[in-house]
Symmetry: C3
Subunit: 215 residues, 3 copies
Amino acid sequence: MKIPFVIVGSGGHALSVANVARSCDCRLVAFVDDKKAGYTLSGVPIITQGHCKASFKTAHYAIAIADNAIRERVSKEYMTDLSNAVFPTLVHKSSVIGCDVKIGQGTIVMPLAHIGPNSLVDEFCILNTCSSIDHDCCMQSYSSLAPRAVCGGTVEIGTRSAISIGAVINHDLKIGSDSIIGANSYVNSLIANNVVAYGSPCKIIRSRSKGDRYL
Amino acid sequence: MKIPFVIVGSGGHALSVANVARSCDCRLVAFVDDKKAGYTLSGVPIITQGHCKASFKTAHYAIAIADNAIRERVSKEYMTDLSNAVFPTLVHKSSVIGCDVKIGQGTIVMPLAHIGPNSLVDEFCILNTCSSIDHDCCMQSYSSLAPRAVCGGTVEIGTRSAISIGAVINHDLKIGSDSIIGANSYVNSLIANNVVAYGSPCKIIRSRSKGDRYL
Amino acid sequence: MKIPFVIVGSGGHALSVANVARSCDCRLVAFVDDKKAGYTLSGVPIITQGHCKASFKTAHYAIAIADNAIRERVSKEYMTDLSNAVFPTLVHKSSVIGCDVKIGQGTIVMPLAHIGPNSLVDEFCILNTCSSIDHDCCMQSYSSLAPRAVCGGTVEIGTRSAISIGAVINHDLKIGSDSIIGANSYVNSLIANNVVAYGSPCKIIRSRSKGDRYL
């Protein structure tokens, strides 16, 4: 029988992750959320974290938390507490992965997303619906692209940085770590670590610290 | 033999609808347009409305009119006049429909479009090329997304409202009914009924009435 | 044995072209670049132009040069020097081509791109990742769409003109020849020949000549 698949989280992002998992024929057995335990989501029971860690020590897991810093913390907790669990890469069947691409554990690629050839996407990243990175890009761990965000070739996105919905990043640029690019922005210059930046062209608006709210 | 498929309209949008119908293996027998009857479009005859309603009482129909208020009126006329006709949902084979999605009759989903999980798309809507709604969205009847328009999760679009080409709508927002969002706009606030709004961020520019011209 | 496939160029765009060629099951034997001859790219040898033209007189070729004027010049040189070579149209298997579309030799269609019904794409064009033209469009030879650029229906793009990343062109418009539309621009008016234009809405910023740098 197929290995059980558990999704940590029960919000809208968890539903999207479940949708990808189902397109990969995963056997979804539970969502995990202490506050909604006893309910169901899309026909699947929601259980407590205690129940989860006691019952599914060797399951496959997705950490379905959209906030990058919180996803990092929870991913590390689960990897520590469940040393025999597996955190597979999940790629929706409609998405396109180029040649010579490497994708780390725990990364989720939503429908109609694209990863260009010779790109590296590290651990626990999110490429949301219709997002795209082109050739020779690099997404560091826990970074994310919101729906329809797009990067030209040879773009690097730093650890835990978030590119918001519809943003466009020109080729040959680097976004530092723990930075946020606002929705619908157009980035045509380097963006430092630990900043919030938006606009077209994108300007740095203020600094932020790892774990601050997004916008 | 396959049920005949009739497309009401003969403009560019009708051609796009024909393209979707063909990807669904429909047997296209006619376009309907009194002003061009006797000509052909993409190898298919264009006939008059009178000829159509006399000859194809039980056919499958698509109402290929891009204007949302006119499409509503014509759809209702055809449903009244041809009580045994069927108005199927048409989804291009390249498009992606999530789990637990409901789509009403007469709705057309163009190539490379996306409907996220647990979304509702009601009757006679248009999701044009490369458009996307994310998880838990709702499009009311006769609403439309132009090419590459995108909505985050949990967005509601009211009856007959039109989202223009390339527009971006942030998550958790509602667009009222009979409103127009201009091309390339970025929406980050609630938009009332009966308004024209555009810009990045999107601002209400003026009021409009149901059936007014778009922009 | 399959016909050998040669890619002229060895930069990031050449890598993207190789990715498309592989999705079409082409037998990639060489990249051509005098400055990098002796090295390899994605496991394939890079050779000199002299070596190429002596050894692969009847091969299939892609001219993987992103600059439109240079691609025109090099394409014409190769067609003159290698009169028995073939310059096939390459379409990534994830892309969608509508009914009644004509595509010229040497044109490359990258992943998740879209060409609407009854459109004409002439010779040696580039439709980059996630770009889209809608019904009844025309791209003249050597023109290009960058990633996620989108055109509504009945748009014409002139010879050697380049539409940059994320740009949106409204329906029923014409972009002249040798013009550049800047990244993330929204075009809602006719654009003349030989201009650089950008912004939302897009304004003409300055004139340019065929072969000038892009921006």
